[in-house]
Subunit: 228 residues, 2 copies
DNA sequence: GATGGTGCAGTGGATCATCCACTCAGTCAC
DNA sequence: GTGACTGAGTGGATGATCCACTGCACCATC
């Protein structure tokens, strides 16, 4: 059973506003119209608008000052990686840059995991790797694959790598369905991952780094073919 | 002129709720009390509570289903790096892990910047480097230092590195004042950065990587002495 | 003319009461 | 059994209202 997310008014309004900001209709540094005016323009209640504002504020796109107004932040300069999902949704040319970073950090993680992981991690990695092979359907394989990468990040012993892995994964989310190609064949997906896990389990840092790099390069190539 | 942020009711409530979640009073997976009950418990209006909820929802700590309730997400497993600021505020032992990642990624950025940056970047780097030396006061030096790192990230030509740098910087923010030690002497701070910028400008990848690594290790050591 | 206080208009902050939409479990006719 | 229905409880959305804050024009004072 899957719970499908529903589009609330606030969701729609949030997306609309974000789009207007990202397209430059409301340029960075500019003040937005007043809440009362904007609410009227979009045909919603001011309270509703404020809920949408709250999210964009939390996301780092807006900046509010009581008694003055709300302005657009210079998000490209000051924003964090959590902006990526919305940036990708708005203009997919981010994907290439994300892939490059993913490749470098993935290699880093594999190396650290090889250096530091313990028996518990190794067992978990092997289990999750097996799950990739037995998953059915590209979607399930892709998710199983992601679980392996999460486990690799955990195996570094550094929780920040887990969060970073999630951040980069979230960045793919908006276009995930378009990136399912490398995972249509469970056997192939499994085979590509094996060298990485084996090198990590064997504790061979350089091999792990190299294996991760070539794994990521390979899947990346297949994905980009699809997008092109 | 500096605009000091004021604590609104929503701010206070948000922090309070976040703290209760991070301390495990409301464990991951559990449903929170209903909005009406919680609002009453904290002595605020339900609308106000919803504003606070909105932010925590956006931050990935909560998950709401219409007609059912609001539950705590498994943020440590599924959350992104944007959670770091609040995690650090709650338990500072994250700092060590953040430093390690910062070091690796900083080295990565320096290497890429050395490989790809152009004359424009070089000029900007030199200017910002000079600004470190002429800054007055630990706080200003620290900010000038950050600007150099932002510029290094921009010099990679990959915008994702800029966002990642910001994310890691945001993670320090809650304890920034405690990490000002390396920046009390502008000359010393400047001198530590020089090798990094010079290697990048010279286009020497390995030297840039090594210089960044040793720079980050050095500042990190000074910072950690302070915290201990 | 420069200074500093004051009032006002406009902004966002917070609340309240109320209704709508959704979910789920229990009920009941079939 | 099966399936439609109902009601209680949940979050979603609204509109009206008041509060707190900011910036500026104004003006008395010096």
């Amino acid at each position: 059973m899957e719970t499908l997310p529903r589009e609330t008014v606030v969701d729609v309004l949030e997306n609309r506003l974000r789009e207007e900001i990202l397209t430059g209709r409301y340029p960075a540094g500019d003040y937005l119209p007043t809440e009362r005016r904007l609410a009227e323009r979009y045909g919603v209640n001011r309270t509703t608008l404020k809920h949408a504002y709250g999210r964009l504020l939390q996301a780092g796109l807006l900046e509010t000052r009581h008694g003055v107004g709300t302005k657009v932040r210079d998000y490209l300069r000051l924003g964090g990686a959590d902006l990526l999902p919305m940036l990708v949704r708005h203009s997919p040319d981010w994907i290439g840059e994300i892939f490059e970073v993913r490749r470098s950090i993935g290699a880093l993680i594999a190396e650290r995991a090889a250096a530091r992981s313990g028996r518990k991690h190794h067992e978990e990695l092997r289990e999750l790797l097996a799950a990739v092979r037995s998953a059915e359907g590209g979607d399930a394989v892709q998710l199983a694959d992601i679980e392996v990468h999460r486990a690799l990040a955990r195996a570094t012993g550094n929780r920040v790598y887990v969060l970073l892995t999630n951040t980069l994964f979230h960045a793919y989310l908006p276009v995930r369905s378009a990136l399912v190609r490398p995972f249509t064949d469970p056997e192939a997906a499994h085979a590509r991952l094996v060298p990485v896990v084996e090198a990590v389990v064997a504790g061979e840092r350089d091999a792990a780094r190299a294996a991760a790099e070539s794994y990521l390069t390979a899947t990346e190539r297949i994905m980009l073919e699809e997008l092109a």
